[in-house]
Amino acid sequence: MNDFSSVAVSPVGVVRRDPRKEWMARNRLHPRHHEVISEGVGGEMGANGLMRRNPRQIGFIGPNGIKRIDRLKGNAVQTPNKRQSVVPEVVLPWHVVATADFYIFVVPDMVGGRLSGHDKDILGLAHRLQKEIAGQGAVVAVCFGEVKETQFELAGVDRLVHFAGAEFEGFAAEAKAAALAAMDERWAPKHWLFPDSIHGGTDLGSRLAAELGERPATQAWQVDLEKTVARGAGGSLDISRATPRILFLLEECAYPIDETRHQVLSLEMPEVQRPAPRLLDQGLVAVDPNEIPLAEAEFILSAGNGIHNWAQFHQTAKALGATEGASRVAVDDGFMPRSRQVGASGTWVTARVYIAVGISGAIQHLQGIAQCDKIIAINTDAGCDMVKRANLAVIDDSDAILSALMMLANEKLVEPGAVQGNTNKEDSDAA
């Protein structure tokens, strides 16, 4: 089984202030001063949410790598227990569901094995619905495959169901749907909530709804127990209807849970009867960022007339993992292929981040990037239109900035944390 359901219910959610300890911490000459000071600094949170301390550790390692004993601490910060960076989670009260009268099931996307912002919104909504229904309800998260999430208890998961095993790894929509159908039979939840998303939520929800023969509300964004408002007709309509049992929800349909801790207890899982899979996953196809069609790319490094070192430009794009784009001048001059042209007569892009290097921001170019989220300009001319349009502009030579960026990217690559992130392509799409 998994680790998450093993958390014991602790009746005390709050760590109390201890005036005596605080006094000892302030008094450097007190014999137990070191002991008190190191508490919380070198300590770590135990599984039960209480601080464990390491009596052998005195002081801490500073940012420059030198061990420091912060003797000021007792004065600067009133008590180690109030250190904001470590403690605030600890003060959240528990939301305890001892025995549930009913269940609301949430099937989060778990992009990269973690709850996404979208998932958390839906858990928030689940709790809102739960409160509206008479009796004590539990919000259940159903997860599949590898799970890296460590904060279920803070996201409002009262119960957790985790289908692990190879058959749920990768693309396994059919197996997952069968598991959900079995859960439905066993637990008859009041609601099934899915993120209406391209990360699998819609697909899985649709499969379950078809299997159960129920009509879901899709693209729902305003939901209470009676009424649901859902988008229709390509997002141009608001359809108000009675709230059905199965809901596919848009992002920001509710606020996530942020004031309570939840038990994350496990729930019994029925035996799942599964027919042989009909969709055979052949795995992810490696896609070179530069093969990604411009219109689909989410991170574009785009070159204009202000690029003088093309080899460097290509290297930087590679180091950053960005898809290459270009202005018409760069294409006309033969430095970039036509398929890379961004703008009115090229491609209209929808990247989340668009870096325009040495592009002046002619109206025809700006037309092509109107739908980008964040625009970064690198230009020597602070007055040009691209700088006016950009969310972040740096006024400097393209050559210098690109080489500095490349250095940063390469440094990041050698850091262990970064490499880990790179191993899983599906990782970290939380937006």
């Binding site: 141009s236 608001d238 981040v353 006024i395 937006a431």
Partner: protein, 256 residues
């Protein structure tokens, strides 16, 4: 043996004008159908045979198009199911979500369930069909792809990442035959008491700092809204400027 492929098309809706048009994803379903089956492709619409938009689909090079005639607000699935059951079909292609009506995206799933076929959603390409099995590429976010094998017959919904629909030629569309099949529809009961209104714009959620203290509340209240005006770095060192960009890239999670 040529493949027996059916593309299902609906009446789209232009997001800006609200006018009827060839739906983006359904157009791709026809495009994919033409790629796999050429002139053998059947294109089917449930609804009004006089709908002018059908000519836009036909203009892609179809000599004919089948309409299962049915009034608006009738459920399309039972009619389609009956129609598809009669034929010996290999692949049914649809869009992921229609641009008009409920836009629930359930049609391919309901059909697949009714017919007992597998369904693959968000297809970017059907690479090939060999020995009764298709090699399919699914569209994942940010241009990524997943390869999946699926046995015929199946239903596939086409993502916007699939090859775009070819231009519709006026003359070809005009001359195409529209074959109408009368069908006994079933009124969509659930939909009867829905209310529809023009979509209300949704306010973007502000980055709320849960204010625990008075000072934080004050800060939240007086903080400049996340405005349009961008930051311009001029006098910083090159290193700092590059770092600022890099930080933004990290914040936006485009580099990992």
């Amino acid at each position: 043996m040529p493949l027996n492929i059916v593309s299902l098309v609906s009446v789209g809706r232009h997001p800006q004008s609200g006018r009827s048009r060839r739906a983006e994803q359904d157009g791709r379903a026809v495009e994919m159908g033409l790629k796999l089956a050429g002139q053998q492709l059947s294109v089917v619409h449930v609804g009004n045979p006089d709908e002018p938009v059908l000519r836009q689909y036909a203009g892609m090079g179809l000599s004919s198009l089948t309409v299962l005639k049915q009034a608006d607000r009738f459920d399309a699935v039972p009619v389609l199911q009956r129609y598809l059951e009669q034929k010996n079909i290999d692949i049914v292609l649809t869009g992921v979500r229609s641009e008009s009506g409920e836009s629930s995206g359930m049609v391919p799933y309901l059909l697949a369930h009714a017919l007992g076929w597998p369904v693959v959603a968000r297809v970017a390409d059907i690479v090939c069909v060999e020995k009764g099995e298709a090699q399919v590429l699914l569209a994942l976010p940010r241009g990524q792809r997943r390869a999946v094998r699926v046995a015929l017959p199946f239903i596939a919904s086409l993502d916007l990442a699939a090859p775009p629909a070819r231009q519709s030629a006026f003359g070809v569309g005009l001359r195409a035959k529209i074959e109408t099949i009368e069908s006994i529809g079933e009124v969509d009961q659930i939909r009867v008491d829905w209310q529809e209104a023009e979509a209300k714009p949704r306010a973007k959620r502000l980055k709320t700092v849960k204010a625990k203290t008075a000072a934080e509340r004050f800060k939240a209240a007086t903080a400049k809204p996340q405005g349009d005006a961008g930051k311009v770095l001029i006098n910083e060192t090159t290193q700092q400027k590059a770092q600022a960009i890099f930080d933004l890239l990290l914040e936006e999670k485009v580099i990992r």
